[in-house]
């Protein structure tokens, strides 16, 4: 069975935010909620790098571990989804998530959190696949239709890859082998200096 993964190639991402827009459009995400975002480190300086980040669909998901009502489940494709009908809007998943993926519409009294919204890997949610209810609550179910997440399919530079983890890893490995310049292994510069 496939194990779905996102991978963002830091050498290709040009911070165009096309993935953010594609996600909002495909899923009709409410105002103020962004399931995906692009973060740039050293913005405007030599060596600036950008990464597009959303829910990483963790194997041992911290959000699921701290949820007081236990609404998270992992599909057979390794996608972490949640049941909005049971969500109480406590925000604990947001405190626990390292990627800042869970989002909350601020629609209730005194700005209390509404039901949590996050990236579904374009796989919808608990209601019937492709149903109107599913689209309204969770957005598009492209996986059920045999397509990949809109953000990755839309990526102009193919920096953002999504799909079966093995295939994504193969594509990335081939890229790295053919890529000119210094190795980008973590800590390479520290261990060997200029390569």
């Amino acid at each position: 069975m496939a194990r779905m993964k996102f991978l963002c190639d830091a050498d290709r991402c040009i911070e165009c935010n096309g993935c953010v827009t594609a996600c909002k459009n495909a899923n009709e995400v409410p105002w103020g909620v962004n399931r995906r975002r692009v973060v740039t480190l050293n913005d405007g300086l030599p060596g600036e790098k950008s990464i597009s980040v959303a829910c990483m669909h963790c194997t041992d998901a911290p959000c699921a571990a701290v949820c007081p009502v236990d609404i998270f489940y992992t599909t057979t494709d390794g996608i972490v989804l949640h049941d909005k009908d049971l969500c109480i809007g406590c925000g604990y998943c947001f405190y626990a998530c390292p990627f800042g993926a869970p989002q909350f519409p601020k629609t209730e009294a005194f700005g209390m959190r509404g039901k949590m919204d996050k990236c579904t890997f374009c796989a919808g949610g608990p209601p019937e696949d492709g149903s109107e209810e599913e689209f309204e609550k969770y957005g598009a179910n492209r996986i059920a239709a045999g397509k990949l997440p809109a953000c990755a399919e839309m990526c102009a530079t193919k920096a953002l890859l999504a799909g079966d983890g093995d295939m994504v890893a193969d594509i990335y490995r081939q890229r790295v082998m053919r890529r000119a310049g210094r190795p980008q292994t973590w800590g390479w510069g520290k261990a060997y200096g200029e390569a």
């Binding site: 935010n17 740039t40 913005d43 009502v69 236990d70 809007g89 626990a96 800042g100 190795p183 200029e194």
Partner: protein, 358 residues
């Protein structure tokens, strides 16, 4: 004679030799520092190390939670990976969730033990004469009971949110518990501020009675906490300890709770993580302490409940439990016998609560 001298010089040589070996064993390894100091220039300097490879160093910065720029605005949007969440998860699902129930169980067992050891709680020893002493003003009593009801609501809903997943989902099912949890969240969020306000009011009105004195030290030293009667004023050291736990611990619980229900003002994830851990951990201790308070007010010291319901206690109860205070009150001529007297005392006692007895 010369043989003895030889023996002595031999043993001295052995001693000196042993000391030398010991000293050498400690000093010789330190020569490593000399090597490092001499060899230092040959190793790459720190500046060489810090020359970055933007590709590889990028991930180091990501892992360290370095803040960047994101066109998407929102709490924590500028950080790619935040390690605090993992710590939050480990503390909440670890010590707080495992030790919390033990704290509550031990406190309940302790209360039960006190009940058994004292032979069913302390009763008033002398026969009741019908004379009464005013203890708490109507203002204090009303504030106390609003606070107490709020506390119980917060206790039930708070424990539901922390342990409901383990305890209530198997009983109610996922949907049933979710419905209760949403209700519990609203009750908790709206009762919290009520509790916080009444807590502050009660702490302010009882502050004067709860200032520590030398009598309190004696109370602890002479075993007042073990149920022994040690001369004490209006409030004994145990009661004062509970007061100060409320004043400090309760206030921290209240403040951290207010932080948690205002996500629009306190946006930072780290603030929320810390607030929730402090809130849950301290609240569990608070609940444990409240078990003792509830026991002492009802079964532990029979007759004490009158003080916070009717506002007065029997003279005999006052003499038995708070003798110094009782004698002071008696000297001031504030002992009453009838309901009219009680009504008068309620009217006369100022809103700050303690009256002339403090």
């Amino acid at each position: 004679m010369s043989e003895q001298t030889a023996m002595r010089s031999k043993s001295r040589r052995i001693l000196v030799g042993a000391v030398l070996v010991l000293v050498a064993a400690m000093v010789v390894p330190l020569t490593g520092y000399v090597y490092v100091a001499v060899a230092q220039p040959q190793i790459e300097t720190a500046a060489d190390w810090q020359e970055t490879n933007p590709r590889s160093e990028y991930w180091r910065e990501v892992r360290q939670g370095t803040e960047g720029y994101s066109a998407v605005k929102g709490p924590a949007a500028d950080v790619l990976i935040d390690n605090g969440g993992q710590i939050f998860r480990q503390i909440r699902n670890g010590p707080i969730s495992t030790f919390g129930p033990w704290v509550l169980a031990i406190m309940l067992l302790g209360v039960a033990g006190m009940f058994v050891l004292s032979g069913g709680g302390q009763k008033v020893e002398k026969p009741l004469s019908g004379k009464r002493v005013p203890r708490w003003s109507a203002y204090v009593r009303v504030v106390h009971w609003i606070m107490a009801i709020a506390f119980l609501l917060l206790l039930i809903t708070g424990l539901s949110l922390l342990f409901g997943r383990a305890v209530l989902i198997p009983l109610l099912g996922a949907e049933g518990f979710s419905a209760w949890a949403i209700t519990a969240k609203y009750i908790h969020n709206f009762t919290g501020p009520v509790f916080a306000v009444t807590l502050v009011l009660l702490v302010l009105s009882m502050l004067r009675d709860n200032l520590p004195s030398k009598v309190d030290v004696d109370w602890f030293l002479k075993g007042g906490f073990a149920g022994k009667h040690v001369p004490t004023g209006k409030l004994n050291a145990g009661e004062k300890l509970w007061f100060w736990f409320n004043a400090v611990g309760g206030l921290v619980v209240a403040v951290s709770g207010v932080v948690l229900i205002l996500p629009n003002i306190f946006e930072a994830r780290s603030t929320m993580q810390l607030a929730l851990l402090v809130h849950a951990g301290l609240a569990l201790l608070y609940i444990g302490g409240s078990f003792v308070h509830m026991y002492m007010g009802t079964l532990g010291a029979r007759g004490a409940l009158d003080a916070i319901t009717k506002g007065h206690v029997s003279s005999e109860w006052a003499e038995q439990h708070h003798d110094l205070w009782y004698h002071e009150v008696k000297k001031d001529g504030e002992e009453f016998v009838s309901d009219e007297d009680d009504a008068r005392s309620n009217r006369e006692m100022p809103a700050t609560g303690s009256g002339s007895t403090a």
